[in-house]
């Protein structure tokens, strides 16, 4: 017993707490509250409940709930019957649940094996549609949410707030643990959302892993922000569903009426822009709508319109960065790099337009262009020079399409498959391992070499290198830049090259800019390199001269 702190020792015996009448406790609660036992006898009720029910005198302790309701001046006989049925259902189900759509609702909570606390909830907001429930979660569905929001804003006399909630990482839970677990998780999310809101608020499932909360009478940002923060926090806590531990998160977009928008559609669009912003800033946070988001959305739409025209208008072209074998710096091939030159915008950085192309579904077409152009160009180079082409994770998800595009590009150009390398990032490998593996094998069946890009920056592991058929890993530039200082970067590079050597996987370092880095790479046993030290990316018209200078694969030092 010596480890039990003396003042807390009493916690260990199950003696009841110091006598404090339960009535005094529940009288402090502003909501109307009744305590009933399993026989539906009223043990206690507070002043708020007496007022709400219209009871002149406090009922005798242990009076049947039915008789108490009969004596309640504020409750019509039909309503009394409904409430009694609700109470019975709550006791039978042993758990709290809001039931019924009448003028007054009961919510229940079990306090002990034989004691339930019933709260007389105010009715749901009159603007809210009782119909249209999502069968899985019991929340309002998209149509009911839209109708409720429209009705609420039509009344126009009170402000409101809309929160759009998007789950983070739900898809991967669904993929890895299966739909039944995913469904149970959605139901648990709905339960947590329900627990965050007031009775007059409306929570809805809009579809998939999108939820929404409508707060009538929410005048300022403070209340809505408090809820937004709470939603983000509570959904980031772990879930135990169907025997599985699941960790997700949530991003929340917030918009207020009338401050941000007066019309229902506009308000939802504003919340959606805020949600988009929350996700863009890294997820797991909430953001409120700002007018600047509108401008940003317009700019994005303009960029998208230009991007859609870029392919037919032939605004894309490729530059090629030489890759050399170490230590002799013999030219072995080029990495194809996409450039977009727009007549008004000038050169648009890939970091700006590639994510957009992925988002709006243009990446397949653009990726197809890159494959065809790169293969056609490389077919004109002397053997055995290779070309490396970057493949987006989204292209990879549609494996069959990618294999078809590669097959077509090789056939059109006449380039042998062995002279094409496809560079994929680690994130392409995270989803759906079986189909990813099938795609990799199909590509290798064409003779194509597979390179893992940006190795070491993401989730790659030894097991991944073992289970996927890679021919080469590309060591990320962040490690190369730290090489000259020694320390951790050197250790990582050494580990990668050693691992590659033992698994028969070649290594290439990118972003090599100094002689010191090149020397360190040779020292650590890295097989090849690319970077400004060797050469910047060059336009295709300059390639023949460059190849000629390099001696087309002869073992001469590469001097651009």
């Amino acid at each position: 017993m010596d480890r039990i702190t003396p003042d807390l020792a009493t916690l260990l015996d199950c003696a009841p707490p110091p006598a404090r009448p339960l009535a005094a406790l529940i009288d402090g609660i502003p909501q109307p509250v009744l305590l009933i036992d399993a026989d539906l006898a009223v043990r206690q009720l507070n002043g708020a409940a007496r007022r709400r029910l219209g009871l002149v005198d406090a009922p005798a302790r242990g009076a049947p709930l039915g008789r108490v309701l009969e004596q309640a001046g504020e409750i019509a006989p039909a309503e009394a019957a409904v409430l009694l049925a609700q109470a019975r259902a709550i006791v039978a189900a042993e758990e709290g649940a809001a039931r019924g759509g009448g003028a007054i609702r009961l919510t229940g909570r079990r306090l002990s094996p034989r004691l339930w606390m019933l709260t007389l909830a105010p009715p749901a907001h009159p603007a809210f549609s009782p119909a249209g429930r999502c069968a899985l979660t019991g929340l309002a569905d998209r149509a009911a949410f839209a109708a409720s929001l429209a009705r609420l804003l039509q009344r126009a006399e009170e402000p409101a707030a809309v929160l759009l909630v998007d789950l983070d990482r739900f898809k991967s839970i669904n993929d890895t643990l299966g739909h039944p677990v995913g469904d149970a998780l959605l139901a648990a999310v709905a339960g947590r959302l329900r627990g965050c809101i007031r009775p007059r608020d409306l929570a809805a499932r809009l579809g998939g892993d999108e939820f929404a909360i409508l707060l009538p009478g929410c005048a300022g940002e403070a209340d809505a922000a408090l809820l937004a923060r709470r939603v983000v926090e509570i959904l980031s806590r772990p879930f135990l569903v169907r025997g599985h531990l699941a960790s997700i998160g949530a991003s929340v977009g917030l918009a207020l009426a009338p401050a941000d928008a007066a019309e229902a559609d506009e308000l939802v669009r504003a919340a959606d822009l805020a949600l988009y912003q929350a996700k863009a800033e890294g997820r797991g946070i909430w953001r409120r709508f700002r007018p600047a988001l509108n401008e940003r959305a317009q700019a994005r739409r303009a960029l998208e319109a230009d991007l859609r025209r870029a392919l037919p208008l032939r605004q894309f072209h490729l530059h090629y960065q030489p890759q050399v074998a170490l230590p002799e710096r013999r030219l072995t091939g080029f990495e194809a790099l996409l450039r977009w030159t727009h007549p008004a915008r000038g050169s648009v950085p890939p970091g700006e337009f590639i994510p957009l192309a992925e988002e709006v579904g243009l990446i397949g077409a653009i990726g197809g262009f890159v494959l065809r152009a790169a293969c056609a160009e490389a077919a004109a180079w002397p053997e055995p020079l290779k070309v490396a082409v970057n493949v987006s994770p989204l292209q990879f998800e549609r494996g069959a399409e990618l294999v078809a595009a590669v097959t077509a590009a090789l056939a059109e150009s006449g380039l042998p498959g062995v002279r094409l390398e496809l560079e994929i990032t680690e994130s392409a490998l995270l989803h759906n391992e079986a189909s990813t593996l099938a795609t990799l094998h199909a590509l290798r069946g064409l003779g194509v070499r597979i390179v893992m890009d940006d190795f070491g920056t993401g989730y790659s592991s030894l097991s991944q290198l073992r289970s996927f058929p890679f021919d080469k890993v590309k060591i990320d530039r962040s490690f190369v830049s730290g090489l000259a200082e020694g320390g951790q970067a050197s250790a990582i590079v050494r580990a990668i090259t050693a691992l590659g050597a033992s698994l028969g996987i070649a290594t290439i370092a990118e972003g090599v800019e100094t002689e010191a880095q090149a020397a360190a790479l040779v020292q650590e046993g890295c097989g090849s390199a690319q970077g400004y030290l060797i050469s910047r990316p060059v336009a295709p018209e300059n390639i023949p001269a460059l190849i000629a200078r390099a001696g087309s694969g002869a073992a001469t030092e590469f001097v651009p």
Partner: protein, 142 residues
């Protein structure tokens, strides 16, 4: 017999007030959880320091998940980390609907390390700490 599961988690307290008020809050948590657990067939142990909780819950899966979910919705704590969740053959705390374990001096750093990420060995050490305390208490219990 139904398959038993055990979950071990730790979290940061949001119990308001000074020592006396925190003690009352803790007492409330223990009483509620003892009542709930007695009704649903769960057992376990709760460890509390000035700022951190560690709790073991064990029992049938369905009741365990339902109770865990209710705990997750509780505002009196946050920053929840599950250190262990697995099927078990036997209960660790068969005689306790919810034992209370005041931490020995060694428990706090272990808990803090566990909250900062790494599970694995910490789960075992916290479980051991909970055990040690409860074993001591078992002697004095009826």
């Amino acid at each position: 017999m139904k398959q038993l599961h055990r979950v071990l988690y730790c979290s940061r307290s949001r119990l308001p007030g000074g020592a006396a008020e925190v003690g009352r809050g803790l007492r409330q948590i223990l009483e509620r959880s003892r009542q709930n657990n007695a009704a649903t067939g769960l057992t376990g142990s709760l460890l509390f320091t000035e700022s951190l909780f560690a709790q073991v819950l064990e029992g049938p899966l369905e009741a365990l998940c339902a109770t865990f979910e209710r705990i997750q919705c509780d505002e009196r704590h946050h920053d929840v980390t599950v250190l262990e969740f697995l099927p078990v053959r036997a209960r660790e705390f068969p005689h306790w609907s919810m034992a209370y374990a005041a931490p020995g001096p060694q428990a706090l750093p272990v808990l803090k390390a566990a909250l900062h990420g790494a599970a694995g060995p910490e789960a075992g050490r916290i479980l051991a700490a909970l055990h040690e305390v409860v074993r001591g208490a078992d002697v004095g219990a009826k």
